[in-house]
């Protein structure tokens, strides 16, 4: 059993998490190109692939994901061990999503596997699909896919709601003036990401 202060684990979660949030924002921006038509979207996709900076960041992104997930599991298991006998009756005084990061994390992970399977694998690895626009629109025509997509993003919204605020606390930043602003940004971020991605999915399902 490691006896290093938990903060050393927590900061890895926080730093990789913030990087993943940055990625979510950039990815949402790229998704919006779907509205500009087939050519614009496919050109954007090709452009991203040929950008060497993006390729380097991509490696960083995968490393962040692996560390974020790995430490997430490790922290969850360790924290569960700290209470070997559960309460028979407990009235938690903290919002459910703050206690359920492992659950939202698991749902997001499942989503990620499906997501990479449906887009990254055929477009980037096997090369079955050349027209990414067609692939995306066709995939979202499946109501179950779009449904699960939206559910996953609701979970992600709750994950972010806790994550954003929590990261600053982990860094040691809790300020009478700035912390309430950070909390508001957290809400905007969580709702923005969930609604933003869901809208793109719904538009793809209904209109495109």
């Amino acid at each position: 059993m490691s006896a290093k202060p938990y903060l050393l684990r927590k900061i890895i979660s926080a730093l990789t998490g913030l990087f993943l949030i940055l990625f979510l924002i950039v990815h949402l921006y790229d998704n919006i190109f779907l509205f500009f038509g087939e050519e614009a979207f496919n050109t954007k996709a090709k452009e991203l692939l040929s950008n060497p900076f993006i390729r380097v960041v991509e490696v960083l992104l995968f490393l962040s994901l692996i560390f974020h997930i790995g430490y997430g599991i490790y922290i969850t298991v360790k924290n569960k061990k700290a209470r070997n006998v559960p309460y028979k009756k407990i009235d938690w005084q903290t919002p459910f999503y703050k206690r359920m990061m492992w659950l939202s994390g698991t749902v997001i992970f499942l989503f990620l596997v499906i997501h990479l399977q449906s887009f990254l694998v055929p477009y980037r690895i096997t090369g079955e699909a050349d027209n990414l626009y067609q692939l995306v629109v066709l995939t979202f025509k499946n109501p179950f896919y779009t449904g699960f997509y939206i559910i996953a993003f609701i979970f992600l919204g709750f994950h972010l709601l806790h994550a954003w605020e929590s990261a600053f606390q982990t860094f040691g930043f809790n300020h009478p003036v700035f912390t309430p602003i950070i909390k508001i940004i957290g809400w905007v971020l969580a709702i923005g990401i969930t609604v933003g991605y869901s809208v793109v999915a719904i538009v793809a399902y209904l209109i495109l």
Partner: protein, 254 residues
């Protein structure tokens, strides 16, 4: 004096003969409960009844019974020290419960807090953490003159807010991770805010957080459940402050 309305309660109490025992809930009925009794007085009366019936009384801890020693404490209806804000069990009165109510009583639960008997837990783990860093270096001998070490009023007030921790363990009991972060950070922040705490400033935060880990407490995941249950109202801003102290110590190379 007007006649006070008494209450009838059903109590589901955790009974456990020793650390190795499995433990179970036992249900007791108690009549004529005076609303002005404290929760512990109510248990005293129940225990007298149990003794009269030839049964083993419920083991629980208490000392000052005025909310400042941190000895008492268990979980009442799923809340550490009961549902009343900033209150220890000994200061919780029966008027805050309803007539005919069923009250579930359980010990504080954490791997680091083994149950010794019924509602009594072993909180030595907290002492081990304190030993590792909850001290300062001072000159022995006669007391120094007042004001030899200037302390800004604001800092002494803030330090005092964190020094009010009574070490009852409610924060740990209320934490989904059974983390001692609020308890540990209260001491770190208290001493970091005062010049007297500065000689061991970097060593303290590292040692105490390491000790917390060694004692088997969970890590803080910033759910802030602790702050709600703390009978002294210690703020989670102290956890942020202790985190900052830790990063500061790390950056300084300690």
């Amino acid at each position: 004096m007007s006649e006070k309305k008494t209450m009838r309660l059903t109590l589901k109490v955790w009974r456990q003969n020793g650390p190795q025992d499995q433990g179970r809930f036992e249900t007791y009925e108690l009549d004529n409960v005076n609303p002005d009794w404290s929760f512990l007085e109510m248990l005293d009366i129940l225990n007298m009844k149990l003794v009269r019936e030839g049964k083993e009384p419920i083991a629980f801890e208490s000392d000052c019974r005025e909310g400042i020693c941190g000895t008492c404490g268990f979980v009442i209806n799923g809340r550490a020290h009961g549902h009343l804000h900033k209150t220890t069990v000994c200061q919780l009165h029966m008027r805050h419960f309803k007539d005919g109510e069923t009250i579930v009583i359980e010990p504080f639960r954490a791997t680091a807090f083994p149950v010794l008997k019924d509602l009594i837990i072993d909180r030595s783990a907290m002492d081990f953490i304190l030993k590792r860093g909850g001290y300062i270096s001072v000159n022995v001998g006669s007391a120094p003159d007042a004001n030899t070490i200037p302390v800004p009023k604001h800092n002494s007030d803030r330090a005092f807010d964190f020094a009010t921790c009574i070490g009852c363990g409610a924060c740990i009991a209320a934490c989904p991770n059974a983390s001692a972060a609020l308890f540990v950070s209260a001491k770190i922040t208290h001493l970091a805010l005062l010049p007297q705490g500065h000689p061991e400033r970097e060593k303290r935060v590292d040692e105490m957080l390491t000790a917390m880990e060694e004692q088997g407490f969970g890590g803080c995941s910033n759910t802030y459940a602790c702050e709600v249950e703390c009978p002294k109202g210690i703020s989670i801003t102290g956890i942020a402050r202790a985190n900052l102290e830790y990063w500061r110590a790390k950056l300084k190379g300690n």
